[in-house]
């Protein structure tokens, strides 16, 4: 297993300088996620407008490079998408990480596709899968209006 595949420049960059970090204005959905193994916490905020579009999305929390990069990339990709599309994407993300299945290119722009796929390498590091998936699980919880914090230990 090659570490440079896991820690690609793109991931290191998002890990160090996360985008959409903080609490976004006008959030009308949010959810918390917790990874008891790492002690990492994440809070995802989003605004679903009247057309069920993710008008804005952001996150707060601390974690490892993988976890922060995954959250940051997630917010970038999901912002502006419909709720339905967001759900398709999160399922695709789990499939990619857990089953190594590539995402349908038609679903994303080229730039989005590169970002999304940069996290594929995590699948080869089983102990780190939860780091990458936590933010996506929490996104789902936010869309579902789930009040109980997500516990990645139980879910994955």
């Amino acid at each position: 297993m090659d570490l440079t595949e896991l820690y690609q420049d793109l991931i290191l960059d998002h890990g160090k300088k996360p985008r959409n970090f903080g609490k976004c204005n006008s959030a009308n959905h949010d959810a918390k996620g917790h990874n008891p193994l790492c002690g990492d916490n994440i809070h995802v905020y989003l605004n679903l407008d009247n057309n069920n579009k993710v008008k804005d999305i952001s996150f707060e929390g601390s974690g490892c490079a993988i976890s922060v990069a995954s959250s940051s990339i997630m917010t970038e990709i999901v912002k502006g998408k419909s709720e339905k599309k967001a759900r398709v994407l999160l399922e695709a993300f789990f499939k990619m990480i857990k089953e190594g299945q590539e995402i349908n290119k038609a679903d994303l722009t080229e730039d989005e596709h590169i970002k999304f796929s940069s996290l594929a390498g995590v699948g080869r590091f089983p102990m780190r899968v939860k780091c990458a998936t936590l933010s996506w699980h929490t996104l789902r919880a936010a869309l579902d209006n789930e009040k109980k914090p997500i516990n990645s230990e139980i879910i994955d």
């Binding site: 917790h34 193994l37 102990m127 914090p149 516990n151 230990e153 139980i154």
Partner: protein, 400 residues
């Protein structure tokens, strides 16, 4: 794999060729596969679980959770409702202690007279809160008097905790009926399944009880591991039982929040190798098929009771119509410990004493008894050896 040559799968019978092991209800012998996996884990893969990011720890954690899933499937439980404890005793203590917050003075707990001490003492502790314990009586045959249940349940009955299969008489309690009755009155039910699993068909989704406790070491798995099935609504409503590492979410100087799900009830380091090897025990039983095991053990019980009935002075402790894999008896005029010493000379291992069921023994007007309990490795020859030894015993003590 068949039950015919099953003895060969247990190393103990190779090193102790003459051993007639009739004490499975106390603790079961271990199949070679179980010991092999545990041994391999300790030698080549040892790691604590859940707390390390490195490969050994990752592999251990995965194997540990696989074992949880195997147990879940084996008793047809639900995802995320199987808690690991140290033994069935701890499992029941956990339920009683955590449930106590819902109890107030005058409330009632319903048990039976057939309970093992581990399903009575934890509830007895709650008498400090001035709650009352009532007992479903057993009759002379050792059977639970199901007709009495309705009159014993009152508005104050807050929980019912009942043994699944008696570890003295082998009687199977009518737990399905009890759970149905309780459900109508919205009373939660805890089942002490320590003698149920591996000797009866346990289907938790069908039973629909709130709690079900058992032990790994009695189902051919390693010691040091107990199991507790707990319906998820209780996972949320209960406060934690033991506090420590692994069950917290956030800790500061003023306050502590807890992990959710089963983690909340698993504090401190669990025995990883033992849990991992438990999966092999479950797999072993599955391969033999539980229905074959039930038939095999019930046949042996019937055969044994039949043969022992023909010996004068043998007095059974209850003669329940529902037979499982065990029964108890006395030889009139000889103390159970003396009998056991004689048996030991013939390499027969039985348990002598009150089997942690003083109430049942007192009800039957005896102090102690000999218990014969079968496992998958027993056969009719074991019973024949037992009968010969009983005769020898009587001769030694000059009975005829």
């Amino acid at each position: 794999m068949s039950l015919k040559d099953i003895k060969s799968k247990f190393p103990i019978f190779k090193s102790n060729k003459k051993l007639v092991y009739l004490d499975t209800a106390n603790s079961a012998q271990k199949p070679k596969v179980v010991v092999d996996v545990m041994d391999d884990f300790y030698r080549n893969k040892y790691s604590n679980i859940g707390r390390g990011v490195y490969s050994l720890a990752g592999i251990a954690t995965e194997a540990y959770e696989q074992s949880r899933r195997a147990i879940k499937e084996f008793v047809n439980g639900s995802e995320g409702e199987i808690i690991f404890t140290k033994n069935s005793t701890e499992s029941i203590n956990l339920v009683a202690t955590c449930f106590s917050k819902f109890l107030k003075e005058g409330d009632e707990i319903l048990l039976s007279e057939a309970e093992h001490h581990s399903n009575y003492v934890p509830w007895h502790f709650l008498r400090k809160k001035k709650v009352n314990i009532k007992f479903i009586p057993i009759n002379n045959d050792g059977e639970l008097d199901i007709n009495k249940i309705n009159s014993l349940i009152t508005k104050k009955t807050k929980i019912i905790s009942i043994i699944h299969i008696s570890n003295v008489t082998g009687h199977t309690s009518p737990i399905k009926k009890i759970i149905e009755i309780a459900k109508l009155k919205k009373i939660p039910v805890c089942i002490d399944g320590t003698q149920g699993v591996a000797h009866a068909n346990v289907n938790l989704k069908e039973l629909d009880c709130d709690f079900y406790a058992f032990s790994s070491h009695k189902i051919y798995g390693p010691a040091g591991v107990g199991l507790l099935f707990m319906k998820s609504k209780w996972l949320d409503q209960f406060d934690p039982f033991l506090g420590g590492g692994g069950m917290i979410q956030n800790v500061d100087l003023k306050n502590i929040t807890y992990a959710s799900g089963v983690s909340k009830f698993e504090a401190g380091t669990m025995p990883s190798a033992e849990v991992v090897a438990l999966k092999e025990a479950v797999h072993f039983i599955d391969q033999l098929k539980i229905k074959n095991i039930i038939t095999h053990e019930q046949n042996l019980t019937n055969y044994a009771i039949d043969k022992l009935s023909q010996i004068n002075d043998v007095e059974f402790v209850g003669t329940p119509s529902s037979k499982s894999s065990l029964f108890s008896f006395n030889i009139k005029g000889i103390h159970s410990h003396d009998v056991s010493t004689v048996f030991d000379q013939d390499h027969i291992a039985v348990r002598a004493g009150h089997h942690c069921c003083q109430i049942l023994h007192k009800k039957m007007n005896i102090v102690s008894s000999i218990r014969v309990s079968f496992g998958i490795y027993n056969n009719k020859q074991d019973v024949d050896t037992l009968c010969e030894s009983i005769k020898k015993c009587k001769k030694l003590f000059k009975l005829n």
